[in-house]
């Protein structure tokens, strides 16, 4: 098993004819994912990497049985693309697009929620479960099947950490990059129970960053509900207050959301906390060894 995606996942790529859409369609295929359809309005009838392209999501779903979508369309059109996916019956949407206005994302989130659909992202690397499927853009090379689950708000940093886990000879069950935008479809608190319930995950790596209070809420959840061990890291200890660090999420406001408050909360919730990202693989390996010897 795995979390949210598996070998049965039939992926639709919205914005497949764009540069990123095409590149990552190929990468998803190389990962072993069933990419069954693409959508680009006006490009219906063509194909990309052997994948048939449709004008509308409803047509693509009807023709191919797609059951998940990954959205690459530019920010001004991303809201429309997501609404179309939800209206066409899709219940899992990975939104890779960055720079979506949060007012649009509020509509997207609440619309999806009202229809029982889940969004991962926006501005996120998506989901990958080695040996099962990838819906998103995490580089294939960092993966190896295994029993470590990863939930991260970061992009590249996640790749580095996932890769580190591979380099110490371990592997991953599923990795989800949530995205660091102010409004995300799926937060740590939403994702943690999925990993906790996944029989193929032994340990969860949580990668946070400064800004917002998602890590503090995750810590509460870990303390109250989680049965599996957690190794956590939070980027941004050295960030000066009030300066913007690329992500809108990375603003320290009103004394909350600092790295210190997040690290303390996670530590008190029983998570093992890494000071540096390169310490994570070692901590994970040690903790897994300990589990096995119990």
């Amino acid at each position: 098993m795995s979390v949210l995606v598996n070998a049965e996942t039939r992926v639709l790529v919205q914005g497949i004819t764009g540069h990123q859409g095409t590149v990552h369609t190929r990468q998803m295929q190389l990962f072993g994912t069933q990419v069954v359809a693409g959508v680009t309005p006006g490009k219906g009838g063509t194909s990309v990497e052997g994948v048939p392209v449709y004008d509308a999501v409803a047509d693509a779903v009807a023709a191919t049985g797609a059951n998940a979508t990954v959205i690459f369309v530019p920010a001004p059109y991303a809201k429309d693309a997501l609404l179309e996916a939800v209206d066409s019956g899709l219940r899992l949407a990975v939104v890779v697009t960055e720079h979506i206005p949060f007012h649009d994302m509020l509509t997207m989130y609440h619309y999806a929620r009202a229809h029982g659909a889940r969004i991962i992202g926006p501005n996120c690397p998506g989901i990958a479960a080695p040996g099962q499927a990838k819906v998103g853009i995490i580089p294939n090379v960092v993966f190896r099947p295994g029993r470590v689950g990863i939930i991260s708000r970061s992009g590249t940093l996640t790749y580095e950490i996932v890769n580190g886990i591979k380099e110490v000879g371990l592997g991953q069950s599923t990795c989800i990059g949530l995205g660091g935008d102010p409004v995300v479809g799926t937060s740590f608190v939403d994702a943690l129970p999925l990993f906790d319930a996944d029989p193929d995950t032994d340990l969860i790596v949580l990668v946070g960053e400064i800004g917002g209070t998602a890590e503090e809420e995750a810590a509460e959840f870990v303390k109250a509900h989680l049965s599996k061990p957690v190794v956590a890291y939070v980027a941004g200890r050295s960030a000066p207050p009030g300066k913007r660090m690329g992500h809108a999420g990375a603003i320290i406001a009103r004394g909350r959301g600092t790295a210190e408050s997040k690290l303390t909360a996670l530590r008190e919730a029983g998570a093992e906390v890494a000071t540096f990202p390169y310490e994570i693989p070692g901590l994970v390996a040690a903790r897994l060894k300990e589990l096995r010897h119990r």
């Binding site: 007012h103 980027a235 603003i251």
Partner: protein, 377 residues
């Protein structure tokens, strides 16, 4: 994030019909005096520095003037200020009103709730951070319902307003809500909101517009009151670039990895001076431009830390070599590189040819960057 100066915020308020004191913007003491003479602002009036930092009252950047002489003196004094690093270029002159009470109102985003939140407090006129949480009403506003009557009633109750004053608040809240939505605001804040007679009006206006919505609001693209010159150039080139206090330039890709790199540098005693996030790019030209921008910030050393995902290592290496070739020797800087991930081997080979060694270990490469900067710090 486009922070608007008070007077710009009030221009938007005015276009939404939010009640404001009578007033005008001036840029010199002479202008101030002639504004008063022409009746654009009645005396006595308030003279307010148009800066983005808070605490203007305590900092001497807000003064009262009862006469033309006082107005000239106040305007001259404030225009000469360097307020928390901002030079005062504009003054807002506004009529002095008989304020019965000072209140607080704002609308912003609550990330955890994924909902806009209306916050009101009867304790206005002071920094909201200093107000007890229990004295602030938080009303989450659902985007599908909009700001409702019951939410506005709760706000009026918290503020102790009834009758015509409550109706005045009602209208003001509707306008702020529309502004928040239609202008893609991150924050709309009125502090203080003044009760004058039986109506409320906005004595201050803090509006922050979301950058990402600029495709809908090109008019805000020119308003950049809170960036350095290099940060502004970077923005135009879509590079995340922030100037800090130290001397080491950091080029990485992705906010998380960039922040982690800063953390490591700082942990080992380094002082990051520029933060440059390449983001996800596979265009070597963008990399070249990023390096040139970095050079203009005159770092003592640069630490390049790339993990190739969307960005390929060979792309970064190619862009880097290109930038170094054209760089005048006076702008050159010591470079420590660590590139990993997609097309790692190709990238390392390109760098090696240009005489740059790519290191593997994050800790060691951070220490090397600190050492390299040490010579010129």
């Amino acid at each position: 994030m486009v922070k608007l100066a008070e007077w710009r915020g009030k221009e938007i308020f005015r276009s939404y019909g939010v009640p404001l004191p009578k007033g005008t913007v001036v840029r010199s003491a002479d202008e101030a005096v002639s504004a008063a003479a022409q009746g654009a602002v009645p005396l006595p009036c308030v003279v307010k520095a148009q800066v983005l930092s808070g605490g203007r009252g305590k900092g001497g950047a807000v003064r009262f003037a009862a006469t033309v002489e006082e107005l000239r003196a106040a305007a001259s004094a404030i225009l000469g200020l360097d307020f928390k690093g901002e030079k005062v270029r504009e003054l807002l002159l506004e009529e002095k009103l008989p304020i019965a009470r000072e209140l607080y109102v704002s609308i912003t985003l609550d990330r955890s709730a994924r909902l806009p939140v209306l916050m009101v407090s009867a304790s206005g006129g002071v920094e909201i951070e200093s107000v007890a949480d229990t004295a602030i009403l938080r009303q989450w506003v659902h985007p599908f319902a909009g700001l409702t009557n019951f939410e506005k009633r709760a706000a009026a109750k918290t503020l102790g307003l009834t009758g015509p004053a409550a109706r005045s608040l009602d209208g003001l809240l509707d306008k702020l809500w529309r502004l928040f939505l239609n202008e893609d605001a991150e924050l709309v804040e009125v502090n203080p909101l003044a009760l004058v007679g039986e109506g409320v009006l906005a004595l201050d206006a803090k509006v922050i517009i979301e950058d990402d919505a600029s495709f809908r609001h090109p008019q805000y693209a020119e308003v950049r009151d809170d960036r350095t010159e290099l940060e502004e150039i970077a923005r135009e080139k879509e590079i995340a670039f922030v100037q800090l206090d130290g001397n080491i330039g950091v080029i990485a890709n992705g906010a998380g990895l960039t922040m982690a790199t800063l953390d490591v540098l700082q942990q080992f005693g380094g002082r990051p001076g520029v933060f440059l996030d390449l983001g996800g790019t596979d265009d070597p030209k963008k990399v070249t431009e990023a390096f040139r921008l970095m050079a203009r910030a005159r770092p003592a050393a640069v630490f390049l830390n790339i993990f190739g995902g969307v960005t390929r290592c060979d792309t970064v290496a190619t862009g880097l070599v290109e930038a170094m070739r054209d760089m005048p020797s006076t702008e050159r800087f010591p470079l420590v590189a660590r590139i990993r991930g997609n097309n790692e081997e190709e990238g390392i080979a390109i760098l090696r040819e240009a005489g740059v060694t790519s290191m593997r270990d994050l800790k060691e490469s951070a220490q090397a960057a600190i050492a390299a900067a040490g010579g010129r710090a």
